[in-house]
Symmetry: C2
Subunit: 201 residues, 2 copies
């Protein structure tokens, strides 16, 4: 029985994050988590209201890390440099999704995990703002509304790509195509999203 471990909350969160990425968030068990960390299973309730609350924290952590990966400072960049950075950020998005499949799945699952949670909403918005900033910088759009629409369009395209790549069986014949898409993400983005929108005026 070890008491006074100040950093138990962080330790629980980190271990839970790892367990989720390993086995999928649906397989997470508070008792297994507690055993892994070396405390009784009810100790979790001193730091998280319930299991949903813990999953919300994991989800929020996911958006936090995703946001970090997307951050670009466009100030002082030429148009070409800005576009390069934008494409790089998109590639980072895809890479994050592929390297954190289970967490990514949790982040975009339709479960009620984190419903109406402010921290989560903030982190999600922060990540999305990276995209909006990039769109505003790289596309000549007539209105904020067009910018928002374009951002959603790009997000949907890249998110759909990640989702389908995550699903595909490596044994499939499409593997070569998948490899091509990842290695030529710029071309892919140009074909799916890098055109001037005609809607959302």
């Amino acid at each position: 029985m070890v008491y006074h471990r100040k950093k138990l909350k962080a330790e629980l969160l980190n271990t839970a994050y790892r367990l989720c990425e390993t086995n999928g968030s649906e397989q997470l068990s508070l008792r297994v988590l507690a055993a892994e960390v070396g405390v009784s299973h009810t100790a979790v309730y001193r730091h998280f209201k319930n299991k949903n609350d813990l999953l919300t924290a994991i989800k929020t952590e996911g958006f936090d890390r995703l946001g970090s990966v997307l951050q670009v400072n466009y100030a002082g960049l030429t148009a070409t440099q800005a576009m390069d950075e934008f494409v790089l950020a998109a590639a980072n998005y895809v890479q994050f999704g592929l390297e954190n499949r289970q967490i990514y799945a949790l982040m975009f699952s339709q479960s009620d995990v984190g419903l109406n949670n402010k921290d989560l909403a903030d982190q999600r918005q922060r990540a999305f703002n990276c995209l909006i900033t990039g769109v505003a910088k790289n596309f000549e759009l007539d209105s904020p509304k067009q910018c928002l629409n374009k951002s959603y369009q790009i997000w949907a395209s890249v998110h759909g790509l990640v989702d389908i790549l995550c699903h595909h069986n490596p044994d499939d014949e499409i593997q070569s195509n998948v490899d091509w898409i990842i290695n030529n993400l710029t071309t892919y983005l140009v074909e799916t999203s890098f055109n001037k929108p005609t809607y959302g005026a």
Copy 2:
């Protein structure tokens, strides 16, 4: 105690499908399902190997229904008609996703439900073939590989759209944009996917 109900399996599947769409597949309980149908909870095991097997059947049913919604017979259609039908099929896809959110989420969840299940793989392939056929009919592509790439691109774009529409909070300011996108799906598709690919030769 009622015995020999020949159609119990179908009844279980239908009820389970409905319960999943109502409460989300994660909330499905075999005991609640059995009670709803009016049998003991272990009766389910006479027709499904376990809970995962039942969920696999629900998922397969989802792809079956999605496939039906996507089916288009392009034989004898003019180019314009074929394109109209193709866009309509895409709209049907989006509509299916929005009207069957929970089932759609299950269908594209990354859980191990139905992993390596042949029936499921077949139904999924059947649905995807509808898309491939439409792409082959409506795009002048140089190779089957290009056709496959284009199909994945369109799928990713539309799937991403559905996923994000399902997630978005109706109170958000983006609602008006969402409405626009749905009502003008043709324009959306043109901007995201209806261009000639330059890759995948």
